[in-house]
Assembly symmetry: C2
Homo-oligomer: 367 residues x 2
């Protein structure tokens, strides 16, 4: 037990003990309960008292003990972030944005990486939410759609918000972009450049976004009466390595596609690398576009034409939704209908896609 202070402490000097709410109460000349009210920003405290308590707390350097709060009350001031993909920078960018939002709200962030395919996802999730009594959870794909995880969260009655989940959309609040329309628009951009023979690299089918992007591609193609040759469709997994494999296969088809649409930027970058390797010039001989506007999009050469997904905004929106729900006035349930934020994407036209038979633009790679 943490340095149990004896009934009468002989040393009147440095207590070497964190000040408690009791100490603040004594210094301010009020009861503990009033201090609690001030700390929790509850109403019904006179301003004069509130200030006195605040000053006492500051003077003592008082820090509320979250364990005690959580044990006595019904809030832990902890939110969890569950992500699936250990690689890539997506998960990290989301995390940083969540942190930015938690900061001001007095919440702390607990993270856990869950392998979607692992056998113990349910147990691990249960451990997290039951042991720590998380107030809420934010999920990113692909575990947004892991039935086990969602079941555990529902049973534990922990509110959660999903970023880019699958279609089962009214199970929880969600934040997303319109992946299908974005893919459609991107495809139309490529078609508009004159390309007809267009290859497509699919993403990991466990991600809803991968399926939606494929569907958007198909729609744009059929809207323009273009055939989607099955041999120009390759199954990737969102990783750079998978992009290399798919690109090699696609670029050996005859006739060769004049443009390749990849379901994310990592795979698009891999296509460019393979093109280099084969001595194919991008974009003169091959146009390549990606998706996400990940950092890699501006690093490869030529810079990738892609769809920018506003990841920080999405993560912030998700956090804000969750925090609003957790606030005392947030009520004990999600508002109806289930909140859903759909944010705008943006087509970023750079140098990796050009008109069929077009010229090479040399110059600054940035945009």
């Amino acid at each position: 037990m943490r340095k149990r202070n004896p009934p009468a402490r002989p040393q009147p000097s440095l207590p070497a003990r964190q000040p408690t709410m009791m100490d603040v109460a004594q210094l301010a000349g009020v009861s503990m309960k009033t201090v609690s009210r001030v700390v929790n920003k509850e109403p019904n405290v006179r301003n004069e008292v509130r200030e006195r308590v605040t000053r006492a707390a500051t003077a003592l350097g008082y820090q509320p003990n979250f364990s005690a709060r959580s044990l006595a009350g019904e809030r832990s001031f902890l939110i969890g972030y569950l992500f699936g993909d250990p690689g890539g920078d997506y998960a990290h960018r989301v995390e940083v944005s969540i942190l930015n939002r938690c900061r001001g709200a007095g919440y702390h962030l607990l993270v856990e990486q869950l392998d979607d395919a692992a056998a113990d996802v349910a147990e691990r999730t249960a451990a997290l939410v039951s042991q720590l009594r998380l107030d809420g959870v934010i999920l990113t794909a692909p575990i947004t759609d892991n039935a086990e995880v969602l079941r555990v969260l529902d049973e534990a009655r922990v509110p959660y918000v999903r970023i880019a989940p699958d279609a089962e959309s009214d199970r929880s609040p969600a934040v997303c972009i319109d992946d299908m329309r974005a893919a459609q628009e991107l495809t139309e951009h490529v078609i508009g450049l004159g390309h007809r023979r267009i290859g497509f690299i699919k993403g990991d089918p466990k991600h809803a976004a991968a399926r939606l992007r494929l569907r958007g591609f198909r729609r744009a193609m059929s809207a323009h009466k273009l055939e989607v040759a099955e041999q120009l469709l390759e199954q990737g997994s969102f990783s750079y390595a998978s992009g290399l494999d798919c690109a090699r296969r696609l670029l050996h088809r005859r006739p060769r596609p004049t443009a390749i649409i990849a379901s994310n930027d990592d795979m698009a970058a891999a296509v460019i690398a393979v093109a280099h390797e084969m001595g194919l010039h991008v974009p003169e001989e091959l146009s390549v576009v990606g998706f996400d506007d990940a950092p890699i999009a501006q690093v490869v050469w030529p810079a990738l034409t892609t769809v920018r997904q506003p990841i920080p905004l999405m993560a912030e929106a998700a956090t804000d939704m969750l925090l609003a729900r957790l606030a005392p006035r947030g009520g004990g349930a999600w508002p109806s209908p289930m909140p859903r934020r759909e944010l705008d994407y943006e087509l970023k036209v750079r140098q990796s896609a050009a008109p069929l038979g077009g010229y090479r633009r040399r110059g600054a790679a940035g945009n």
Copy 2:
């Protein structure tokens, strides 16, 4: 308060309440204290009893309440991860590795991003460790050397391990590689290819590694009686953007350097981009090398010759050190002398550096 159960509950059916240690104790026919011993893997419990308790706990789906544990005891089973750099994938890779190690040990991970330059680093750190009673903390550069943060951690008596800290090395355990020797070796590799006029892009001087890498470069140069022209030294900040600026300046010097050593891969990739932009062929007309073996190293073309830093191993080693210290037998203090793990780096020779006047190797970009 969480559903305070009335003295006599009328409904004997679903409790809708998490089972407590008391419930387990009753089912197993022992005292709460014994359950506590089993849960905490303490000695002095008969095997038969231990198994009986374990079965009861499993049957009820018992999950220990971490808040209560932390409040009553002296351990919170929470460790904190403080990172500085919000961009890049370094922080994320470290985090994932820490998580992998925490998993088995029954610890959960709390993260916080601290801006090294912000005015409130001390407060934020204090809030984290005092409010949540973290058992330990892991730090990455550059906040490994933030005096405020370290002071707060020391005062709160929270054990911490630093990854790649500055020279003040016996203040805490640390994990690192020999950045200076690695830079020296890398520089010697470049010199060995015949280069004499070598540019160097420095990293953010707040990072110890940046300073050490520069020193290693200087050593190698002077060991080979080569002058380090100050105009071939540029100050970067580890970011891709800063790399672009530095590269532009370096490549307009006359006579132009025949090789550029960047303090990390992001900046090295930027050098390659600028070279492309200027129509300079890499590596025939310009050799470029980086540091870290970040994912970008294999994505740019030509793939970067660089020094691989074993980030996952470093993070795991740091976590293991911390967990060993926190274990009941870990004692109340760090062993003496202060533990320090220095891990091996590895020179990864790829295609971005070639003999002066050498030929271009075409072929697979990967390695």
